[in-house]
């Protein structure tokens, strides 16, 4: 984990997302897929906490050596501020943070399942898996065409690709979970990696448990520090001895977890289905 005042090389729009490239060799050289960075917000605001983002790409060699990239959708004040950063200003960044995805030792056919900005983490993983001679299939989704993260890049990175959108504006209509079973069967998936909202990860975990396919999920939980200091990012993970569960910290013991060990019923997550209507009492 390093801290850097990183220069903003560029802020680009990518459909519904923004992508920021930063110059920070000490972070870029160390970052692996599934890890994240945290960005400090400006002083004088009514909000305080660093904002965590997946590392989407990191260049260790070549013309862009020492840079890395993250991508985000504008949700609230922090991401709105980031989206307006001019080039050549700097950001206070800590990273890389957390445990990366583990690469499979023997299994060769990998399926990467992502919805929304989660696909950003998976494309970094796809690069690394391919570099290790694994076959990469991808199943990515979003609410609309704009919310499918870098579909052309996904095409480039995968042997088989399926895209779904809720409104059918790109690929099949639906959610990634709806087509997972069929694609995994068709493509002979041996191992699954997933990133996305809670319900996607949970659906992936259920499917993989039933089929006894090993699965790793990169999850998002609200964070106080992102560095392991505060125990604010608890994820309930079953004990190996079967006596219940412990709360592990997403920021240091995660954010990548073995999907089979998460106690999904006890994990709130930060995001889920549309808000249920309110009713009194």
């Amino acid at each position: 984990m390093k801290r850097a005042r990183a220069e903003v090389l560029s802020v680009r729009r990518l459909g519904a997302y923004h992508a920021i490239t930063l110059v920070a060799p000490e972070i870029a050289e160390r970052a692996r897929p599934g890890q994240f960075i945290s960005v400090a917000v400006p002083p004088g605001r009514a909000y305080l906490l660093r904002r965590p983002f997946w590392v989407h790409a990191a260049s260790r060699r070549g013309g862009w050596a020492g840079t890395f990239e993250f991508a985000f959708d504008v949700r609230g004040p922090g991401t709105a501020w980031l989206a307006r950063r001019p080039s050549h200003t700097s950001l206070d960044v800590i990273g890389p943070l957390g445990r990366a995805f583990a690469y499979p030792r023997r299994l060769r056919t990998c399926l990467l399942v992502g919805e929304g900005h989660g696909a950003a983490a998976l494309q970094f993983l796809a690069e690394e898996l391919r570099a290790r001679g694994r076959r990469v299939d991808m199943l990515i989704g979003g609410a609309t065409l704009e919310e499918v993260f870098k579909p052309i890049e996904a095409k480039r990175l995968s042997t088989n690709l399926a895209i779904v959108t809720r409104d059918g504006s790109l690929g099949d209509r639906g959610r990634v979970i709806d087509v997972l079973e069929e694609r995994a069967a068709r493509w002979g998936t041996e191992v699954v990696y997933a990133a996305g909202p809670r319900d996607v990860l949970r659906g992936v975990a259920r499917f993989c448990r039933e089929r006894r396919i090993p699965a790793q999920v990169a999850l998002e939980e609200r964070m106080g520090c992102g560095t392991g200091l505060c125990f604010g990012c608890a994820v309930p993970v079953a004990r190996t001895d079967g006596t219940g569960f412990d709360h592990l910290r997403a920021c240091v013991e995660g954010p990548v977890f073995n999907a089979a060990r998460i106690v999904w019923d006890r994990w709130g997550g930060t995001e889920d289905a549309p808000a249920a209507p309110l009713s009194a009492g």
């Binding site: 906490l49 939980e221 106080g224 520090c225 392991g228 505060c230 604010g232 608890a234 709360h247």
Partner: protein, 309 residues
């Protein structure tokens, strides 16, 4: 080179008046050099109970205007595992370690203390008293000054190390509670801690935290902490006093010193920036330099409250 800023908390000598607050220092293996140990006077461990606790359901944190709402539910491995695994790692960070002890009963406080005060490398004990009193079925040991003092006194008698009683910033009888704890034999006091709070996610009609109720920390509460420290410093002059709540800069730490603190605890700011405690210590040094004051102790309680400018 930052100027050295030693402070003496009634015999407990610290190299800096800035202390990392309980629950904000990790387990000793997380941030490493980012904490900049040389600038930090001490760190307080998370609060330790007798048995392990898995802590509250998530979400455990939420942002509020200039504040951090949290509920960790005292997640900790229990005193035995703490003394064996976590404490040695905390000690190895090179920052003097104060262990925070807590419990649901007087006996639990004493039992935890008995395991901790003999462990190598610990410089003091902080008794976290703003916890539900399971024995007397009250929302907090601090709900009555006598009870806070009874528990703090028992910890102090058990411990060979200096004991600080940690009191919350908002009690109608805060001065009384401080006096009672001192009479009961504690070495010093910590006045800090989150304010009882909660959050609501109106969009979903749900509490913001899994535990519903939580605590509010961060800059939002600094004015409340200042007042509490000021009141306690007047109630028990001459007693070592750590204050905390919302401090993020050197001048803000100086505010607490002026109000009567001997040392300043920094929690939330450490979460945002692990280098904050060291940076705040440098800020205090710069403040002292600019005002021609030679040591933090010379600032202590120096607030000019007389009439007129």
């Amino acid at each position: 080179m930052p100027r050295p800023l030693p402070v003496d908390l009634g015999g407990l000598a610290l190299r800096s008046p800035i202390v990392v607050a309980s629950g904000c220092a990790g387990t000793g293996k997380e941030v490493g050099p980012l904490l900049e140990p040389a600038g930090v006077g001490a760190l307080v461990s998370r609060s330790i109970t007798l048995a392990p606790r898995i802590g509250s359901a998530g979400p455990r944190v939420a942002e509020t205007p200039s504040g951090l709402l949290w509920s960790v539910g005292l997640q900790n491995p229990g005193v035995a595992a703490f003394v064996e695994e976590e404490l040695p790692r905390l000690v190895r960070t090179g920052v003097p370690v104060i262990v925070s002890v807590t419990g649901g009963s007087l006996e639990e406080f004493v039992a935890v203390t008995s395991r901790v005060h003999v462990a190598p490398g610990v410089v003091a004990i902080e008794a976290h008293l703003d916890r539900p009193d399971e024995e007397l079925d009250r929302p907090s040991f601090c709900a009555r000054p006598e009870r806070a003092a009874e528990v703090a006194g028992a910890v102090a008698r058990m411990s060979r190390l200096p004991v600080f009683a940690k009191l919350p910033c908002l009690l109608p009888d805060l001065g009384d509670a401080a006096r009672s704890c001192v009479r009961a034999g504690v070495h010093g006091l910590t006045v800090a801690g989150g304010l009882p709070a909660m959050g609501v996610d109106a969009e979903r009609g749900r509490p913001a935290l899994g535990s519903v109720a939580g605590w509010l920390s961060g800059p939002a509460i600094r004015p409340v902490a200042l007042r509490a420290v000021f009141d306690v410093a007047r109630a028990v002059p001459g007693v070592p006093l750590m204050g905390g709540g919302g401090v993020t800069t050197g001048p803000e730490a100086a505010e607490l010193l002026l109000a009567g603190a001997w040392a300043v605890q920094v929690g939330t700011a450490t979460l945002v920036d692990p280098g904050a405690p060291a940076r705040i210590a440098e800020g205090v040094a710069a403040y002292l330099g600019a005002h021609g004051v030679s040591s933090p102790a010379d600032l202590r309680g120096g607030l000019r409250t007389g009439d007129g400018p």
